[in-house]
């Protein structure tokens, strides 16, 4: 069926809830209202208030309570209304969700999937456009996933709910309703920790994820260059083999993400390539990202987020190096 990302995620949640009564959703406004982006629309009516739980407004306890639920044998899917507000619960993720398994030597894993909308491009209020994946990817024990299309969103979410790990599931708001795609009706899994090759090419490799995937695709197409485009899909743990493979193949690597440049995911990807595939490169690794400053108010947004021109110029520079 043709679905946008919102429908695909809703579909995945619904199927997982049918599959196991241990799956419960909780968060702010996710029940009656169906979530501010309507991702959980209709699920409370279908599964009841005990399984689709409207919580009080407190992120730390939404995440902390989910940890307890997971320890108690449930499979919670907390929603944080916007990623910019998850920092109020950061300690629960870094101090507990990510560490329970090691603290108890695998006797108490914390299987939970934290869903939250990320990134900008849709002209929202301050704090509603952040791309915080790097903070979370620095935490060993936490899996960080970010789909860039409806098909991957459904498959990655189902896979996440079948795993025994705390998983941060980042949903790019810009892509929520950007396009529809053929999404299978039945349940299927997309593997965690595996990047996806979006296009095959010879001249350069563009490594990206999230909101930048559709943009990179269109720039590459318009320019008529022959590029390997790698959509990471899972940010932590990184699919290093796929990264090295494409880097060795084309010898020219551009990394594109919406999050700030400094200390971003791009730095990690670049470092791994530099460590292991340096002599296969024909040009220095390049990065395109947002400037190293806080996400501005919506009026300035278009000058901040990487756009077609910025990516295009980077490709030109890389190919002429």
């Amino acid at each position: 069926m043709q679905m946008n990302m919102v429908a695909a995620i809703n579909n995945a949640l619904s199927q997982c809830m049918e599959e196991s009564d241990r799956v419960v959703l909780l968060g702010e406004d996710i029940g009656k209202d169906g979530g501010v982006f309507r991702v959980t629309d209709g699920l409370q009516a279908k599964f009841g208030e005990n399984r689709v739980i409207d919580t009080p407004l407190a992120e730390s306890s939404i995440l902390g309570m989910s940890i307890g639920m997971a320890l108690g044998g449930l499979r919670p899917v907390p929603e944080i209304q916007f990623a910019g507000f998850m920092f109020l619960g950061f300690s629960q993720l870094i101090n507990h969700a990510a560490r329970y398994r090691s603290r108890t030597r695998s006797t108490k894993p914390v299987p939970m999937v934290v869903r939250t909308p990320v990134s900008g491009g849709v002209r929202t209020l301050e704090h509603h456009s952040d791309s915080p994946e790097a903070y979370y990817s620095h935490i060993g024990g936490l899996v960080v996933v970010e789909p860039s299309n409806p098909y991957d969103a459904k498959g990655l979410l189902i896979k996440s709910l079948h795993m025994e790990d705390p998983i941060l599931f980042l949903e790019p708001t810009k892509i929520y309703r950007l396009f529809k795609q053929d999404v299978p009706d039945e349940m299927y899994e997309v593997p965690i920790g595996k990047a996806s090759k979006v296009s095959d090419g010879a001249q350069l490799s563009v490594i990206t994820y999230g909101t930048m995937v559709p943009l990179v695709k269109s720039v590459v197409q318009k320019k008529g260059v022959s590029a390997d485009i790698l959509d990471l899909r899972t940010i932590n743990p990184l699919d290093e083999s796929a990264i090295l493979e494409t880097a060795r193949k084309t010898g020219r690597v551009l990394i594109v993400h919406e999050a700030e440049l400094s200390f971003g995911v791009g730095a990690e990807v670049a470092a791994r390539i530099a460590e292991k595939a340096m002599y296969d490169l024909s040009a220095p690794i390049m990065r395109v990202a947002s400037p190293s400053l806080p996400y501005p108010f919506p009026g300035y947004e278009q000058y901040y987020v990487p756009n077609e021109l910025k990516i295009s110029q980077a490709i030109d520079k890389l190919l002429s190096a």
């Binding site: 419960v24 005990n50 739980i53 919580t55 009080p56 407190a58 730390s60 306890s61 995440l63 902390g64 309570m65 989910s66 940890i67 307890g68 639920m69 997971a70 320890l71 108690g72 044998g73 449930l74 919670p76 300690s91 629960q92 101090n95 507990h96 398994r101 090691s102 603290r103 108890t104 030597r105 695998s106 006797t107 108490k108 894993p109 060993g140 024990g141 899996v143 795993m163 025994e164 790990d165 920790g193 743990p237 990184l238 699919d239 290093e240 083999s241």
Partner: protein
């Protein structure tokens, strides 16, 4: 218009006073002399363990240790009230609770010797020590929600210090517990100090128990040095919680020892204050009571202490024989082994990093 929309009060309960006298009107029916004797033995064992741990830390045989001296009653009294199936979410000072929950002593020592393996207990529902203050309370709420969801009838009991009641997670957890009406009991161990900060600097509220009211929960105070009172209050709270009425219990006690082995309490409190509380400590009154009932004497005390010593020494020997496996620290991070992490593990093994301990000696 002017009307009163809320009125609250906090009960304070004491069953066995400092002189060993029992308030019969409050004594629970199931509390017999033999149970009080049991309580005394458990408190004594906790104290013996505590003394041992302190000395081991001084010898460098365990790492930082938070002593329980003075808080035996709040721990033993509450732990004796638990029902089969109840789940405990402790803070770091509840050693006697661990002990009464059946945590093998050698595992306890393994934890104190700095190895996660001490907390690796298959099937155990209690959670291990949580160090970030207050952050475990939302877990207790979630666990309680899960028990209610599964209709198990089990109750979750969590412990937090007086200092911990200032944390945001404390307030959030109470609030969530009230909204979701979960089977939960929260025990505030008000031992008067949060490291160097006295109780009055944590909150201007007259009692910590009354914080429950803001979340729509019941709040009660108890003499935390009275093991029988503790037992009663926790037992009542467990019954209420089983009916989905969460309770907050503030037990008034005193940390007679240092905060942890890294702390020097003479910097912030007077000897006089400590002396005052020593007179009210939890074991004296029980011994007085038992002696008055001809149930205890010096020779029984001596035999008991010898037994403890033997048991503790055996457990310690077992713990000290535990051989950690350094490479295993990589193996409990995810449900799967990521390639990138495997590579780090392989590199560390290949380089023989395990063999170089020079910088730690």
């Amino acid at each position: 218009m002017l009307k009163k929309t809320f009125e609250g009060f906090v009960d304070y309960i004491q069953v066995l006073d400092e002189f060993g006298t029992v308030d019969k009107s409050l004594l629970p029916e199931d509390v017999t002399d033999s149970m009080i004797l049991e309580m005394y033995k458990s408190m004594s064992k906790a104290r013996a363990l505590d003394a041992k741990a302190l000395s081991l830390q001084r010898q460098g045989r365990i790492f930082t240790y938070p002593p329980l001296l003075g808080e035996e009653a709040s721990q033993v009294g509450s732990a004796m009230a638990f029902r089969r199936g109840d789940i405990i979410v402790p803070n770091y000072r509840q050693h006697a609770v661990f002990m009464l929950r059946g945590l093998p002593l050698d595992r306890w020592f393994v934890s104190l010797r700095g190895f996660e393996d001490g907390a690796a207990i298959n099937g155990a529902k209690d959670t291990p020590v949580s160090v970030p203050i207050g952050t475990h309370l939302p877990h207790a709420v979630g666990l309680a929600y899960a028990e209610k969801y599964k209709k198990s009838g089990n109750v979750v009991v969590s412990y937090i210090g007086d200092g911990g009641t200032s944390e945001g997670d404390f307030y959030e957890a109470l609030n969530f517990a009230g909204v979701f009406k979960v089977p939960l009991v929260i025990i505030i161990v008000n031992n008067q100090w949060a490291i160097s900060v006295p109780r009055r600097r944590q909150s201007a509220a007259q009692t910590l128990a009354q914080k429950a009211f803001a979340a729509g929960l019941k709040g009660v105070q108890v003499d935390g040095n009275d093991v029988v009172g503790m037992y009663k209050v926790v037992k009542d709270a467990l019954s209420a919680a089983a009916n989905n009425e969460p309770t907050v219990i503030e037990c008034i006690t005193y940390r007679l020892s240092m905060h942890t082995t890294a702390d020097d309490p003479t910097k912030y409190r007077t000897d006089g204050e400590v002396k005052e509380w020593e007179a009210k400590e939890p074991l004296i009154r029980v011994r007085r009571y038992l002696t008055s009932r001809n149930l205890w004497d010096d020779s029984k005390e001596k035999d008991m202490q010898e037994e403890f010593k033997k048991e503790i020494d055996e457990a310690l020997a077992k713990a000290e024989a535990f051989k950690p496996d350094p490479k295993s620290i990589f193996e409990h991070i995810y449900s799967f082994m990521p390639e990138v992490l495997k590579e780090e593990q392989d590199a560390a093994i290949a380089a023989g990093f395990w063999l170089d301990t020079s910088s730690h000696e």
